[in-house]
Each structure stands twice: as structure tokens, then as C-alpha cells.
Symmetry: C2
Subunit: 345 residues, 2 copies
């Protein structure tokens, strides 16, 4: 939204600039009627009574759009409240806008930017190929938060906050291998997803290869295309399929904590005990993981820090006009009771 100047207000009211100034600053020299008329227009157009400024400007929108790919994902949902708190602290509101996997995020962002008077954007989740040129062209600051990021999709100049999903997938599986496991099942997101799920899968493969363990596709269960990925259902159906196939595994890497919830259920139904018969490791470190039985060993993403960083980087860009930088976080292993050492047999 453009800014009205004090001159525009004066024109709309058919008075001089000094008259508007008098009305705003409650100075004498104008009639009550004129003053009232001016103040009505000033209010209608949301003027800030800014005494220091020579040019009174119209209040701009204070809206930041949070554009989310995967709004049904509890991991992102847990961030909304924090984004709200952090943005409000800075005096901004946020507009929540969901994007489906079938839409192009940058196109959606562009349209939203055109329609709304946005101050900035935070893009949460999903995958974009070289989005910088198009996003930079929008002319408002933006930050990508937990958007898939890897060697395949380098974004060296993109304002970006998150973890390296390939690297953390690698660390997760390396940990299981260190615990003596070689037959490691993987419950992944959708096969068509070339974002987070693909990156963590790449990390899984790298860790196996490094340990000289051949990659076996029969150990990987993808989510059905009609199932919300990273959900308990994703985990339940995935683990069921693996169990039913008869393939042998001593450990299972689930790509999200919610996937482990469903996997626990499928293992329980099959009489497979965690961790005695099968070790299970999750990803995300959401609060729930602590309360699972047994307590879930998982890779914790520093959600709070990532939200804060995203907002901070955006604010820096808004205040200083600088393009935000990147901030890559590391996931931390939380060891609880769902993974056990496998002795060599």
C-alpha cells in the first residue's frame, strides 16, 4: 500500500498543508468544523500522529505473511504461536497462508505480495528451486524457514534458516550404525516429495554407503500419496507394510516424531517390542516424544531458535535494508529409551 503524504490529505480535504498540520497537532487557528473534518480523514486513512516527522506518512500495513507448505504438519503448527509472539513483539501481525504441494510457492508468494500490502514474508516448509531471482524481484524482505536445503538445491544467497536435512539424516543413521545396527528400516514421507523427505533419504543412503552397507529399497516405506505425510498414519501404514513384507530389520528411522507414533502402534500390534526387538529413532524432538512409551530417542530441531532467527533476520532487513543472511542450525540427538545397542551375532 502506498503512503499518503500530508499533501494528499490536504488535497482530499481541500485545505492547505499547514491547516492539516494544525489539526493534527491540536494547534489553534482553524475552526472546529474544519478540524473535525480533517481529523476524520486522518483517522480514516490511519495516520500516525508522528510529531517528529516533517512528512506525516500514512500508516503502512504492518503485515508479515507466513506462507506455509504443509499446514497440516504439527511441526509447523507448533511454530505458529511462536511466530505470532515474536512478530507481535516487533509490532507486526501475521497473515497465515497455506500452499499445497501442487502449487509453486514463489508464484503464490508473488501473487500474495501483489494483492496485500506486505512488509515482508516468511516462507515455511516446502522446496524451491533457485527461488532467489524471483523472490528478490518482489522488493520486500523475505526469509525461508525450514525449507529443504541441500547440495542439490544450493541457495548460497538466499535468506534462509533451518537445518541441513541431508546432513542430519546422515547423522541419524550413523548413530544407529554406531549402535550396531545394519538392517535399518526407513519410514519416509512421500516418494514424490523432493524436499525434506528426499534430503533425509539421501543422508540415510550416504551413511549406509560409508559403512559399506548396501542400500536396499525394500527397507524403505514411503507414505501413500493420499496420506498426510509425516503423520501418525504415515508411520502406522509404513511400519505395517515393512512388517508385512517380512523383510528383517533391527532398527527403524522414522522421518518425524509423529511418524514414530504410528510406527509404535504397528509394532505393538505385531508384538514387536521397542527397543528389545526393534530400535526406533524419530526426528524433530517435539514435546510429545518425551511422553511416548518408551521415551523416544530423536533428533531435536531447535524450533524456538529457528523462529527467533527468522524474525530477527527479517527485522534486520526491514530496519537496515540489508538482505537477510543464512543461519544453519544443527539438530541435537536426544537419547531416551527407544534405541538399544545391537550386539554382534
Amino acid at each position: 500500500m502506498a503512503q499518503l503524504t500530508i499533501k494528499d490529505i490536504a488535497k482530499i480535504c481541500n485545505v492547505g498543508v499547514s491547516t492539516v498540520s494544525r489539526a493534527i497537532n491540536n494547534e489553534p487557528g482553524i475552526s472546529d468544523k474544519t478540524k473535525e473534518r480533517i481529523m476524520q480523514v486522518v483517522q480514516e486513512f490511519h495516520y500516525i500522529p508522528n510529531n517528529s516527522a516533517r512528512n506525516l506518512k500514512m500508516v503502512e500495513s504492518n503485515t508479515i505473511a507466513l506462507i506455509v507448505t504443509g499446514i497440516d504438519n504439527i511441526f509447523f503448527q507448533s511454530m505458529f504461536g511462536q511466530f505470532e509472539v515474536e512478530l507481535r513483539k516487533m509490532g507486526y501481525d501475521f497473515l497465515l497462508h497455506a500452499v499445497s504441494w501442487r502449487e509453486d510457492v514463489v508464484t503464490v508468494a508473488t501473487e500474495l505480495m501483489k494483492e496485500k500490502r506486505l512488509k515482508g514474508m516468511i516462507l515455511l516448509g516446502g522446496q524451491m528451486e533457485r527461488p532467489e531471482e524471483r523472490l528478490d524481484a518482489l522488493g520486500i524482505p523475505y526469509v525461508l524457514c525450514t525449507v529443504a536445503h541441500s547440495a542439490d538445491y544450493p541457495m548460497p544467497n538466499c535468506p534462509w534458516v533451518g537445518i541441513d536435512d541431508e546432513l542430519e539424516g546422515y547423522h541419524t543413521v550413523k548413530y544407529l550404525i554406531r549402535m550396531g545396527h545394519r538392517d535399518i528400516a526407513l519410514v519416509a514421507g512421500q516418494e514424490a516429495d523432493n524436499a525434506v523427505s528426499a534430503q533425509r533419504l539421501a543422508g540415510y543412503k550416504r551413511a549406509l554407503q560409508e559403512a559399506g552397507i548396501p542400500f536396499r529399497p525394500e527397507l524403505v516405506a514411503f507414505a501413500n500419496p493420499d496420506v498426510t505425510d509425516f503423520s501418525p498414519e504415515n508411520g502406522y501404514l509404513g511400519a505395517k507394510k515393512l512388517i508385512a513384507s517380512g523383510v528383517k530389520f533391527s532398527a527403524m528411522f522414522c522421518m518425524s516424531d509423529l511418524i514414530t507414533v504410528g510406527a509404535y502402534k504397528a509394532l505393538d500390534e505385531a508384538g514387536i517390542r521397542v527397543p528389545q526387538d526393534c530400535s526406533v529413532i524419530g526426528f524433530d524432538g517435539i514435546e510429545l516424544s518425551k511422553y511416548m512409551c518408551p521415551g523416544l530417542t530423536t533428533m531435536h530441531q531447535p524450533i524456538e531458535e529457528m523462529v527467533k532467527s527468522s524474525v530477527e533476520l527479517l527485522m534486520q532487513a526491514l530496519d537496515a535494508g540489508e538482505k537477510p543472511k543464512q543461519k544453519i542450525y544443527q539438530a541435537t540427538l536426544i537419547e531416551r529409551d527407544s534405541v538399544t545397542k545391537r550386539e554382534e551375532s
Copy 2:
């Protein structure tokens, strides 16, 4: 936000109204330079090229505010995506605004309404005493969704969608009594919460009284004030406290499914088996409840229908100018494996 008329645009540009009209309608008779200048202003102020309208008006905001009390509550979070989808279908965006328990929701709504160019509001969660007079005064349509509602807080004329928490609390406990239980523990929200938690507690008391079972405060565990209510932590600490107190109970009513997640953990740690040693019933019927071990018996709230209704009622009000009506839903019992019949001893 006020609407600029074609006259205002003409004044800002220092031209006549007909010149603006020509520029907008791409008619001859003005210089390219003037046209360019006008179109720049028109674009800056987001005019709709509305050919049928005599007075071109500024594009109004299409924003609905979703004002949430309890943004950390997974139950509300699961509604955000649906609200987004439903509102977008109708051509609206939504602004998510969190309210803390310490704030007065109506005051927050009033301020937000003044600041933003809102088309309407949906107020989610929380408790309000006779909010109608103040909310009606705002002059924009609103709907209260899953705001606590009971005989103590009648809102006969308030646009309202949700369940009757007192009644459903009563049904839940009546079911446990029907299953032979008399010593029924309750894991509630915070004691200071006079909203949903208080209403379900009132229903718990009514069911006991009706069955001639005295109410015993030692069977009720409230959330610590520093703990997010209706969360796994709420359930874990509440159940721990009940177990540690030595009070005997054969069943436990947890006020949310997430509370049962923590309660399961506390019971598991104490070696108390569900349902053999203690039956557990939840509330909400979130997806997760299906994947718990054992599968959770719970009272399901029709979330999707409630979201759709809220949006529909709001749209009716926006289109027809009618004040939205009330729509009270019933919770449905989902029987799984966490509640068992207690034989008379």
C-alpha cells in the same frame, strides 16, 4: 481502512475525475504522461478496475481475523489449516492473532478491529462474559468458535459454534459410571480457568451427583499454573500427583487427548496397566488418539464441521447482513481399548 473515491484520486493527481476515468478505462483524450501518472497512483492505491461501478472504490481488505486464546493448544492448531482452506475458498485471507489468558479477548478484538481493515472476526477458544454488547458495537460480523459456553455464561444472542462443555463432561463421566466405575479421577486444566476446564468439571460433578457418588476434591488434579494446559505435561504431572497421593481410582477422565498422552506415561512408569488396572478416557478425538497404545476411548468433537459452520455463518452475515446464528454440536463417543467394564466387587 477507508475507501478512496475516484474524486480523491483526481485530487491527488491534480486532474479532473473524468481524466482519471479515461486513464482507467484506457480511453483517448489524455496524454500518455498524464495517464501514466494517474495509473501509477491508481496502482499504488490498489484500485480495482471495476467497469460497472460509477464510483471506483479502493479495494477493501479481504481479511478475517482469527483471534485465538490458547494458540499452543494442538486442538486449535489443527483447525488453522482448515480455517485457511475454508476462508480462502470464499476469497478471504486470515490474520492469526493470539490472545493470552491474561488479556480480555473483547478488548483485543476491539483494538484489532480499529487497527486493521477487517471484514470479520472468528474468536477461537477462551471465555467471555456477555461479550455481545461490546462485539456487536464493532459493526463487523463475528462468530465465536469453541468458546466456553454453559448455563453460567449464557449467550443466547451470540453467534456461536461449538459444543456444550458442561453437557459433554457430564456425558463422559456418565459413560464411565455406566461402565461400573465410581472412583473416577479427573485430570483437568488450570484451576483458575473458568472456561472449558470449569465447564467440563461442572459436568463431572453433575454426573457423580446424579449417581449418588460424593464429589471428592482429592480425585481432581489441576494443571500447575506454569504448565501449558491440556498438554501432555499437564497430563503427566496430574496423573503423577494422583498416583503419588495414594488415592484409589479405577478410571481417569482426562480433559483432552493430549492430557492422556502424559497420563499414559505416568501410569506406565507406575506399572499401572491401561485398561486392566485403570480405564482412561480422553476428550477431543484428535487423530493421535487412534494411534495410542492401547487405542484411546475418547469424546470426539466434530472439528471439521465446526470450522465449516463458523465460516458459513460468517459468510451469511457478510453477504446478507444478518447476524450469524448459533450452532451447537454434540461430541460423539469413540470406543477403543482404554476403558473396560469394572465388575462390582
